[in-house]
Symmetry: C2
Subunit: 213 residues, 2 copies
DNA sequence: CCTTCAGGTTAACGACCGCTAACCTCCCTG
DNA sequence: CAGGGAGGTTAGCGGTCGTTAACCTGAAGG
């Protein structure tokens, strides 16, 4: 996957601006004219690229969920190590150092939360505005992502019962997804420092959850 | 403050149902007719109790912020202990055991997050839909609440710089406010167990943030 | 040079929504 | 037993919004 250097397509511009506006004012609070204006065209011109306003939200949410899940699976496979390359199922490849895998998952989620704040906001806020089929798809991707985390967490903290582990995972998501509330980017003590703080807190939260539960 | 035993007034019914609907589908996603239907009257009947739809949201958000702040101040004063009753300013009364104060703040926030889930959802989601004056008021109350936490946290972890402490507080709010994602009430391992888990995780997160920062 | 098509434009339609107007009906009170 | 206010009702207005229709334009291709 080479790094993108070419200019973003009009479609991508639209998705990016729509994400920002939806995050700022909510799906119903943004009109198609505003989205159009944000990319320099006006109103109905959007319909050359998307069949409707709903479709933009759907593509955003499916993209987010898929990206999170894909990234997590990749990290899990990598952390399995070259020695475990032959392992068939991803779940089995958590391997010898589950703690490193958990750290990697945390790091990946933090990267996403810091780099795509509007998407993180949408991700758990506008899900109910989707058509039934899209919503089911997104929920399925989200559930897989959660279950992947739960498995890793339980590998690190075997005493943690599954319902508690799932609650803990959701809570840590809440912690990591708090980045939109951390002030405008620039008021932060630096991206690396913030990422480090979040990572330490997430690990600390899990450790506290897993201690003699 | 005696415990309420009398029936809720119509106004209170409306606010409760409006909070639930706003949390479920967003402020713009709910019509006044639906709010009316939820309390057994229909549409414009609401205007006998509120000057407009905006006013309902405003009252909800101001109420939430005020209630959180008031509760926190009370806990801080109580934890100051009877011996510190003469202390003038609240900030000065954190007293001998700041860790106990922090635990109390956490407990209070958890109670709120578990008992009033729709309000917690609204609290950081629909703030921008308010009139300017109301939004300023809510933000001011929220900021005071945050600053109160920051002071206590820095008392417990003196090595933590202020920006980091503020980030940590916001992150822990994210953690505690994740309760709406924890599944329908009943799928949880019991309220007390959930509260305990959240409390441990919050303390663990703060501890990890404060360790040699 | 003519055609085609991607990607725009403006006008306008139909639905919905917040809110007001006008009216009705108990229930309490002097 | 008047009467007045609290708390409803339905009808409807005005504005907004998503979407469609009809039209335009510049660049690529045979």
């Amino acid at each position: 996957m080479a790094t993108r250097t070419d200019a973003p397509t009009r479609r991508e511009q639209i998705l990016k601006e729509a994400a920002r506006l939806f995050a700022e004012r909510g799906f119903h609070g943004v009109g198609v004219d505003e989205i159009g204006a944000a990319v320099g065209i006006s109103g109905p011109g959007l319909y050359r690229h998307f069949p409707g306003k709903d479709a933009m939200l759907a593509e955003l949410l499916v993209g987010i969920s898929g990206q999170l899940l894909t990234g997590a699976k990749r990290r899990l496979a990598e952390a399995g190590g070259p020695g475990a390359a032959g392992t068939a199922d991803a779940a089995g490849s958590i391997g010898a150092d589950p703690e490193a895998v958990l750290d990697s998952l945390i790091e990946g989620h933090i990267d996403f939360a810091l780099d795509d704040r509007p998407l993180i906001t949408l991700h758990d806020r506008e899900l109910d505005r989707l058509r039934d089929s899209d919503r089911k798809l997104v929920r399925q991707l989200q559930r897989q992502y959660v279950e992947l985390w739960v498995e890793v967490v339980r590998r690190v903290y075997p005493d943690l019962a599954e319902p508690s582990a799932r609650s803990a995972v959701h809570s840590v998501f809440g912690l990591l997804n708090s980045t939109p509330h951390l002030g405008r980017p620039g008021a932060l003590p630096g991206r690396a420092r913030t990422a480090d703080l979040l990572s330490r807190m997430a690990r600390g939260a899990f450790a506290a959850a897993g201690a003699r539960a």
